[in-house]
């Protein structure tokens, strides 16, 4: 009996040991799978180009990189305006741009760094995309579609370099493009390595911008299937329109005329004859209202509840509910229109101007608020990138400069923009003492038309204007030769890129 029991014990032990052995064996079957888990929420670089839909998603992703917080969604836009004297800072809070407003940018200033980082992040995403397309990623696409996508990518890259130039390099006129421009990164970076790269000249950087935009013009589709896509994705007219802006910044007025003429017919009505029929919207306020996809909006950054902007124009410019904001239209009131030095106080901007109705006087503070972007949180008003009215005014200015006269066609474009918001009135050539007075009037019209849209800083740069003082905060004017006229290069770039030079 004792032996029997002993055997029972032994067999129980063997059963347990065998069972354990088996389970160990089973568990190791899963080992390789568990050691190399596939993320369920991320797509790896191995399969990122495996379907046409996924590649289209990547194209949208490139646009999305353009509308990130520090870029067109919309910190870049806000900084472009608040440093120019058009706005008055409510809180003098460095977190909401007061360092840039105060014209005190330093290499370590967060805004100086964030904008640089966001724009170059966009550039690298584009470069990685283009590299992958060229290395077989386009295999699942029609050749034409693949080139459409390449063109969209290059348009964004070209514009991103253009936007960088407006902040981090001297204007083109200073030394005719010979000053330091940007490190030109044209291939994708996806791993560790040595990324030292010197700055190309301003001229060479502009050359790259134009190379990208020219490629885009040639390879972009003429239009898309919906007004939404025509506004939010680049087509031929977008590339042309942007080129008018780029050439204007280079003071290459003849080229501005050449490009703009592709979009603007010789005589009214001014409607682009090819591609998307871009034209002025009849009612100014409608441009900034849902669905935001009028033919005037050649290119805008779209936002929805689930991809709302990080730094929204409406949040920064609309007053709070305590100062005239309504339940559906209120913001944080960070910046009001500068009533001293800004365009708001200009006698040219009359109260009957339709654009003035997109401003509001604070019920408590008496401040003037810009209500062009008028939706309350989540602030999903589209952010305009370029509108047809800018093409008209670019052409108007270029014609006046190339002819050095108050050119009749030029005046017609100015009046098209002016008259839209001042129904029944127009400007006459005789009212201008000389061509300079006329040109100044065009610039003033641009200020009225585009306030809050991030255009003013680029205009100051290309025109070589002094950045106005902000007397309410005792901030001095910044002349063109002041180091603060443009931004310094961020400290991280200076430390980590051994070939980088500061401004």
């Amino acid at each position: 009996m004792a032996n029997n029991n002993l055997r029972k014990m032994k067999s129980s032990k063997s059963i347990i040991l065998c069972a354990t052995g088996l389970t160990l064996l089973f568990s190791s079957c899963k080992k390789e799978e568990w050691l190399n888990p596939q993320p369920k929420t991320l797509i790896t670089d191995v399969t990122a180009f495996s379907t046409p839909e996924r590649i289209l998603s990547q194209v949208n992703g490139l646009y999305a990189s353009m509308k990130t917080t520090s870029y067109l969604g919309s910190w870049y836009t806000i900084i472009s305006d608040v440093r120019t004297g058009e706005f008055h800072c409510s809180n003098m809070n460095a977190a909401t741009g007061s360092t840039m407003y105060s014209m005190l940018p330093q290499t370590t200033t967060t805004d100086v760094n964030d904008i640089w980082v966001a724009l170059y992040a966009s550039i690298n995403k584009i470069n990685v995309f283009l590299d992958n397309m060229d290395n077989g990623g386009d295999a699942v696409l029609d050749a034409a579609v693949a080139n459409n996508y390449r063109a969209e990518a290059r348009l964004i890259r070209g514009m991103t370099y253009y936007y960088l130039l407006q902040f981090y390099a001297r204007p083109y006129w200073d030394g005719n493009g010979s000053k330091p421009g940007l490190p030109l990164r044209l291939t994708g970076n996806t791993g560790p390595g040595n990324y030292d790269l010197a700055r190309s000249s301003v001229a060479d950087t502009y050359k790259q911008v134009l190379a990208d935009l020219d490629f885009a013009e040639q390879n972009l589709p003429s239009n898309y299937s919906s007004a939404f896509l025509n506004t939010t994705r680049a087509h031929k007219n977008s590339a042309i329109a942007l080129k008018t802006r780029v050439y204007l910044s280079m003071r290459d007025y003849a080229k501005v005329v050449t490009e703009a003429n592709k979009l603007v017919p010789a005589t009214a009505p001014f409607i682009a004859s090819s591609g998307v029929g871009n034209k002025l919207e009849a009612n100014f306020a409608d441009i900034f209202k849902s669905p935001y996809s009028s033919n005037e909006s050649i290119f805008s950054m779209p936002f929805t509840n689930n991809d709302a902007p990080g730094s929204a124009l409406s949040r920064y410019y609309l007053p709070g509910t305590g100062d005239g904001g309504t339940a559906t239209s209120n913001g944080a009131g960070e910046y009001s229109l500068n009533k001293v030095e800004g365009i708001y106080s200009s006698p040219l901007w009359v109260d009957s101007d339709a654009r003035k109705s997109l401003t509001k006087i604070g019920t408590k503070t008496g401040k003037a608020w810009l209500t062009k972007f008028n939706q309350a949180s989540p602030y999903i008003d589209y952010a305009p990138v370029i509108r047809y009215s800018e093409v008209l005014l670019n052409l108007s200015e270029a014609l006046a400069r190339t002819t050095n006269t108050v050119d009749a066609r030029s005046l017609a474009f100015l009046n098209a923009v002016y008259g839209r918001s001042n129904q029944g009135s127009s400007l006459s050539a005789s009212s201008f003492a000389n061509v300079n007075a006329y040109l100044n009037r065009i610039i003033e019209e641009r200020r009225i038309e585009f306030v809050g849209e991030g255009i003013r800083n680029g205009d100051i740069m290309r025109l070589g204007l002094t950045i106005p003082a902000k007397s309410q905060h005792a901030i001095a004017a910044v002349p063109t030769d002041d180091p603060a006229y443009i931004l310094p290069i961020p400290s991280n770039e200076l430390i980590l890129n051994n070939l980088m030079e500061n401004n």
Binding site: K13, T44, D45, K125, T304, N497
Partner: protein, 894 residues
């Protein structure tokens, strides 16, 4: 603090038995089966021997009875234990040898010749050096360890007003640095063993609770203002012992996770004897102390006007600071501290029942604690229940189960500014309580004279009587009274930590053990910001909720072989372990409150957004094989070798596998005859030299998918998008730590004084850090423009000294005191190529790391030289959230 700790006199064995069988029925029905069958069979098989009944009494040196003493027949499974009067009875074969053991006493053996009463006296063992320490996959007598280990009794931490045990370890062990935070409940302390051992990865030690590595990412605050430390999922009162392993000898068995040291937590188990019911509780009060003294209203006005004058903007009519009057015409002089801080009341209650029979030990506890912090509305409460049962089923089979359930609630209303979880706790946020307490102007109050809140349209503190003559829009940030009254930001955690094991001894010298453990941690975060508060104004009120789930299982299989040949003792451990952790996070935010009545995510809202759901997937796996060989000769010369191979999923494709090892030796000089016979040996009764060297690793804090290049989903105007978001590194491997340690453990005057002196050097190479690249390279990552790489070297070296003594050791009164001292020198040897320094941190504090210096230094402003410049920068800093002081000057402060 009050506490009572009394064995329950009325608890009877019957009470215990019925309770045990109830639980046994519900969770352990499997275990009761072999228990009855095998025990009976075995009992029958030895019945041919002649048995006699013996009885006796066990007392200590003072003649007091010792309860719970284990009396076992050598080589047999017959055993009993003494009752509360020290008496026992037992049927044993004639000529048996009894082995009498009890914790804290030296074991004795006694030959049974006849049934006469056996009265024996136990002598106390030398407490310090005889204790058992946990060494990872086993235990060892402290005398035999060759590693550097500090052991603490759970009772030392159980009665401190902390939320998790780690917060109570400050100052308790040499080489252990624990800094608790500024009064925020349940915020994980900074917990480092022997210095900073990593620059980018976790520096938190691995915490192993009953063999299962716990979640110790040390900050589980997530998207809520209430701090949460995952280690609060264990009630400190349930802890039997804490063993802190510091050197390679003690930690290398944990291979790739050992670089920061290992902390072993052993929960309480029942002790031999009748059921004991034990209640412990405490009550405490907490207040903020050493708050800086601030200007009163009139001083504030004086200084601020002086500042305006210095700035050149003072104007006696249009721009000056003045006092405000309240409704009764009295000058307002607000002490904002009174609105921010409170005296917190905390209490804790813990009841446990424990005991053991010959075959079964059990411990069960239920506990509740409710604590208030020094910040208003900051609270913590926890309900916990734990049950531990171990059953020696037969002489070759042992089974056990632990179940620990904890529900914890971390409560807050506003950001406390304690740092640690990014934007949520940033000291520079507009709603940071500590900041508001300091910078809100004393010349205004939270209420206007008509009883309404003093608040601007932005939610900030308004000017009150300064309206109209001060060129400012506000005199502080958010009005805290509104936020504290209306908002909440809480998290609720539900944790289950459980394990079950089976231990089989097919031969007397072989033990096979299989332990399967789980750690499930589910946390719900719930936030609400009322539209009338600064936090909720912009979104017209918001509610957000996030559900976070993490599930970990660990399965450990070990084979231990113990063999003695004459004076040689061998112990060999072979093991395999798998650990898999999965989880996810999901959240929503809703804004635009449709009625003031709604205050949770389920209420009425205009908008809905996804919230904190991006890529929040957890999936990692660690597969390990390990071995330990221990040898000693005459308990005089000791040698230990550890070897572990780990494979970890989060590492680069080319380097998932790593091998780690440690060797150590010890020499107990006091055991040598020349020592014990010398006059020195009379005084120094223990003197053990030990040294170790090994290579261990660190992977703590690595992102699960950070080593591969990935694209993540994004929207473009609602259109589907995909964007290149993470740059991985297929060569990413472990951080490697080479640890060297030499030390001596000693005891003087018959162990009245014990101590330890040690030297260590820990050289870390292949430091993982996010090597910064020029921003213009545009390499995407969590930290933009950086790629995780193994670069750089750093070392920590130091001396440790511990002295413990028991100057008074009487039966009813004892006084122990312990003193420890540690020096640590941290030096970064090299950083990555082309990276002269790493500047890291947030606005709450930037640090710099440079080769040749310690990691994480602060640069300070040269105040004396640039007083005017400083004023400007200081203003920028106070007024700005994103601004930091721009000048970096080479004046260093540690």
């Amino acid at each position: 603090m009050k506490q009572s700790n009394c064995p329950n006199p009325w608890a009877k064995p019957l009470f215990f038995t019925s309770r045990w069988s109830l639980i046994g029925f519900t969770c352990l029905s499997l275990l009761s089966f072999p228990n009855t069958i095998f025990a009976e069979e075995y009992g029958n098989s030895i019945s041919y021997q002649e048995e006699i009944e013996i009885n006796g009494r066990i007392v200590n040196k003072n003649g007091s009875p010792v309860a719970g003493v284990s009396i076992t027949v050598k080589g047999k499974s017959i055993s009993t234990s003494t009752n509360s009067t020290g008496n026992f009875t037992l049927k044993v074969p004639r000529n048996s040898v009894l082995v009498i053991t009890s914790m804290g006493y030296q074991p004795i053996e006694h030959l049974v010749l006849n049934s006469n009463p056996i009265n024996l006296t136990l002598s106390e063992s030398n407490e310090e050096l005889d204790e058992v320490v946990v060494i990872g996959y086993g235990t060892q007598s402290r005398k035999e360890t060759t590693g550097s280990l500090t052991s603490l009794k759970g009772d030392e931490v159980a009665n401190l007003p902390v939320q998790s045990f780690d917060a109570s370890l400050a100052g308790r062990s040499s080489g252990v640095q624990v800094n608790t935070s500024a009064g925020v409940l349940n915020q994980a302390p900074v917990f480092k063993i022997r210095g900073t051992n990593s620059l980018s990865l976790s520096t938190y030690p691995l915490v192993v609770i009953d063999g299962v590595p716990a979640f110790n990412d040390n900050d589980d605050s997530g998207p809520s203002y209430a701090a949460a430390n995952p280690l609060s999922a264990i009630n400190p009162a349930d802890i039997e012992s804490i063993d802190i392993a510091k050197d390679a000898a003690a930690t290398s068995i944990y291979g790739s996770r050992a670089a920061n040291g290992v902390v072993f937590i052993t929960t309480k188990k029942g002790k031999r004897g009748n059921a004991k019911v034990n209640y412990e509780g405490w009550l405490g009060y907490t207040t903020a102390n050493r708050l800086p003294e601030l200007l009163n209203a009139s001083q504030y006005v004086e200084i601020k006007n002086e500042a305006l004058m210095n700035d050149g903007t003072y104007n006696e009519n249009t721009n000056y600071y003045g006092l405000s009057k309240d409704a009764n015409g009295n000058t307002i002089d607000t002490r904002w501290y009174d609105y921010i801080y409170q005296t917190g009341t905390s209490h804790s209650h813990n009841i446990n029942i424990s005991g053991a029979t010959e075959k079964t030990t059990y411990y069960g506890s239920a506990a509740y604690t409710d604590q208030q912090g020094i910040f208003q509305k900051n609270g913590f409460n926890r309900k916990s229940a734990m049950f531990n049962i171990d059953n020696t089923t037969t002489d070759w089979l042992k089974l056990g189960v632990k179940l620990n359930y904890v529900n914890e609630n971390n409560l807050a209303a506003m950001a406390t500014a304690s740092g640690g979880s990014g934007g949520f706790q940033s000291s520079s946020s507009s709603g940071a309580m500590a900041r508001i307490a300091l910078i809100s102007a004393p010349i205004i109050g939270p209420y206007n004279n008509d009883g309404s809140f003093n608040v601007t349209s932005n939610g900030f503190l308004g000017l009150m009587d300064n309206t109209g003559h001060l060129n400012q829009s506000r005199l502080g940030f958010y009005n805290p009274v509104i936020s504290l009254l209306n908002n909440y930001s809480n998290n609720t955690g539900n944790n289950v930590q459980s394990n079950a094991y089976v231990q089989i001894k097919p031969l007397s010298w072989i033990t096979y053990k299989s332990v399967y453990g789980i750690d499930y941690r589910n946390v719900d975060y719930n936030n609400y910001s009322s539209p009338i508060t600064g936090e909720g104004l912009g979104s017209n009120g918001s509610a957000s909720s996030v559900s976070s789930k993490r599930q970990r299982w660990v399965w450990t299989n070990t084979l231990t072989m113990d063999k003695n040949y004459d004076k040689h003792s061998f112990n060999l451990l072979l093991g395999q372990e798998q650990q898999r952790t999965t989880g996810s996070m999901f959240g929503l935010e809703r804004t635009g409150q449709t009625d003031p009545y709604y205050s949770n995510i389920q209420g009425g809202w205009q908008n809905v957004f996804d919230y904190r759901t991006d890529n929040q997937e957890i999936n990692n796996y660690l597969f390990s094989l390990f071995s330990r060989f221990q040898y000693d000769y005459e308990k005089k010369y000791f040698f230990t070798a550890n070897l572990r191979q780990d494979e970890y999923s989060a590492l680069g494709l080319n380097n998932k596998k790593g091998v780690f090892w440690g060797i150590s030796g010890g020499w107990d000089l006091a055991k040598e005859s020349f020592w014990s016979s010398s006059s020195l040996g009379q005084k120094i009764n223990a003197f053990k030299l030990r040294s170790s060297f090994g290579k261990v690793g660190n992977v703590g804090g690595l992102s699960d998918f950070g080593a591969i290049n990935t694209y993540s989903a994004i929207l473009y105007g609602g259109q589907p998008g995909l964007t290149y978001s993470v740059t991985g590194n297929p060569d990413l491997k472990w951080e490697t730590s080479k640890k060297f340690d030499v030390g001596v453990d000693f005891a003087l005057f018959n162990s009245a004084i014990t101590g330890e002196i040690g030297y260590y050097k820990n050289s870390i190479d292949g430091l993982i850090f996010a090597v910064p690249l020029p921003p213009s390279a545009g390499v995407p990552n969590g930290t933009a423009n950086s790629i995780l790489q193994n670069v750089g070297e750093m070392f920590n070296s130091g001396l440790e000294f511990t002295l413990s003594g028991a100057p008074i050791k009487k039966e009813n009164f004892g006084w122990n005191s312990s003193f420890n001292l540690t020096t640590n020198h941290n030096e970064v040897v090299t950083l990555a190529n082309g990276v002269p320094s790493i500047i890291s941190g947030t606005l709450d504090g930037m640090t710099i790391t440079l080769p040749g210096e310690s990691a994480g230094m602060l640069y300070a402003i040269e105040t004396a030289v640039l007083i005017q410049k400083l004023a400007v920068e200081f203003l920028l800093m106070v007024m700005g959230r994103r601004c930091f002081i721009n000048r970096v000057l080479p004046e260093r402060m540690m």
